[in-house]
Structure formats: C-alpha cells, structure tokens
C-alpha cells in the first residue's frame, strides 16, 4: 500500500509538470482520457512515465491502462523500489 501511495504522489507530480493538470484531479479512479486533451497529450504522458521510471512501455499494455489506478498498478509491476 505504501508503494502505491508513493507512486500515486509521483504520478500526480508527473501529470502536473508535464501537462499542467491539477494534482487534486489525479485520483485513482480518474480516467486518463478525461485528464488529457487529446492523443498527443496521452503520448506525452507515456513518454514522461518512461523517462521518470527509465522503463520502456510495452505498448501492447497501453490499451489496458484506462485509469490512474491502472497506471499505479502498471508502474508497481514494472519498476523496482
């Protein structure tokens, strides 16, 4: 649970810094398509996560990432620490 909370805080920071999204909008049940304006912003988000966590997104998994909670779960699975 602690790791999840830490990841959520980090995701809030990333969305805020990358796209100017207010942190209070980035809650676990929020849908990514509601937070971003368009597909370019969605792509920029993926890039930001890749950079922040030094990981290469398995783009096949992207379709399963719908909400902020899905992002948390994905990063929990694919990152260490």
């Amino acid at each position: 649970m602690q790791k999840e909370e830490k990841l959520l805080t980090e995701i809030q920071d990333i969305l805020n810094k990358t796209l100017g999204i207010a942190k209070d909008k980035v809650v676990p049940q929020a849908k990514l398509i509601d937070l971003v304006e368009d597909s370019i912003q969605l792509f920029e988000l993926l890039l930001a996560f890749e950079k922040a966590y030094a990981l290469e997104t398995v783009y096949d998994d992207v379709v399963r990432i719908q909400t902020v909670q899905d992002v948390v779960k994905y990063l929990e699975k694919h990152t260490n620490g």
Partner: protein, 238 residues
C-alpha cells in the same frame, strides 16, 4: 478531401439533445465530465451525419439521428446500430456489418467518415488544431526520414508539419484498430507525387494503405486513412 463529414459547435444549435442521442447515449453523455460533453456530442453528431449522408441516403434509407447508436469504448473501434428504419431487420444488420466508421473530436469541432469494409477497407480519421508540439515529443514519434523533412522545413511551417505527421499516423492506427498499441515511430508516412496523399510503411515494410490530409478552416489538420486489405490488418493486429 470530400471524404469526411465535419461539424462544429455552431451546428448544435439546430438540435436538441434528444434529437441527436438515443436513450442509452443520453445516459452516457450524462456520465461524462461536463468539460468533455460538448466535444463528445460533436463526435456523435459527425458520425451519425457521416452515416446518413454517405451510407443511408445512398441506400434510400431515411432515419432520425437518434435512431442511430454509435458504440465505442476505450481502445475499441467504434461501431453503430440502426433501429426503427423503414427497412427490414436483416437489411439493418447487413448495413451495420458492411460499413465501418471512425470519428475524432477536438474542442468545438468533430470529423467522421465511413467506408464499405469489403470494397474500401477500414477507415480512420483524426482532427487536431495546428499547434506547437514539444521538440522532445516530436523526436519521439517521427522516424529519421520524417524528422529530416521536418528539420528542413521553414520554421513557420514546422508546427503544421509536426501536427500533420501526428494526425497521419493517428488516423492510420485508428483504421487498423490498434491505437497506441503500436508505437507511432514504427509507422512512417511517405509522401509521393500528390502532396495531400501519403503512403504508409510499417516497421520498414510498405503497406497498401493511403492516408490523406487537408487543412480545415486554416487551423485544423484533418486526416483520413484507409487500410484496404484484411491481410494487412490481420498481420498487424496480431
């Protein structure tokens, strides 16, 4: 291009919500965030008008907008259902299975297109306002060949070019039905003799698909892709 339908927020004044949407769609509309509702509604209106103008009227089928239901979910190609038309159930199902649609919306504008699946293939459309895209993002989605074209362009042209390349790829990936499951840099858009028309390469292989673009209202890029062969889609999607 003449191959897509577009609507703007000004078109909405001609309708009430219940004239455009059926009951299930109104439920969906109500569940959306208020900031997303108008854009979503425009997408629905464009898709339904594209179907009526380019499919149903050609078949002499009259139908109110609300009797068409556009069905879409995240990561899934949209489809449609017809109800209450003056044709048989069998004919309605046949039309639903024979044609495919794509829609795209951004703020106060939406575009949509349809295609006969067997004759034309699968269609994908995208609309984006021309805008400055971060260099880091541009470098991430352009192939080396495309990047060369971008870097050689006049500074004042680069925003349009970058937006155009994004839309070309996005509409192709939508036509394939894969969205961002394929990294945009795996797709290369190659211009030929006609400036508005691009051929497609995927992972270095030439595909049979064609994507067209145009500038709409001097500020939006609109693209339409057609993926013609089932074999191409099956090979890519698996």
């Amino acid at each position: 291009m003449g191959m897509y339908t577009f609507v703007t927020d000004k078109d909405l004044i001609n309708y009430t919500l219940s004239e455009i949407l059926g009951a299930s769609e109104i439920d969906r509309y109500d569940a959306l965030l208020p900031a997303k509702q108008q854009s979503w509604l425009l997408g629905r209106l464009a898709a339904k008008q594209a179907l009526i103008e380019r499919v149903l009227e050609q078949l002499n089928v009259q139908i109110p907008l609300k009797h068409l239901t556009i069905i879409s979910g995240e990561g899934v190609r949209p489809s449609f259902r017809i109800a209450g038309a003056s044709i048989s159930e069998a004919d309605m199902r046949n039309i639903e299975q024979s044609f495919n649609i794509s829609l795209s919306h951004h703020g106060t504008i939406a575009v949509a297109s349809s295609a006969h699946t067997c004759h034309d293939g699968y269609v994908g459309v995208d609309v984006e306002p021309v805008r400055v895209i971060r260099e880091e993002t541009i470098y991430a989605f352009l192939t080396p060949h495309e990047l060369k074209t971008y870097q050689m362009a006049a500074k004042e042209e680069q925003s349009r070019l970058a937006t155009m390349y994004w839309c070309l790829k996005e509409s192709y990936l939508k036509a394939l039905g894969v969205g961002l499951r394929i990294h945009p840099r795996r797709v290369e858009m190659r211009s030929g003799t006609i400036p508005q028309v691009f051929g497609v390469m995927l992972d270095g292989r030439t595909m049979g698909s064609v994507v067209r673009w145009e500038l709409l209202k001097n500020k939006y890029i609109v693209t339409r892709a057609l993926v013609p062969s089932y074999a191409e889609r099956r090979e890519i999607a698996h």
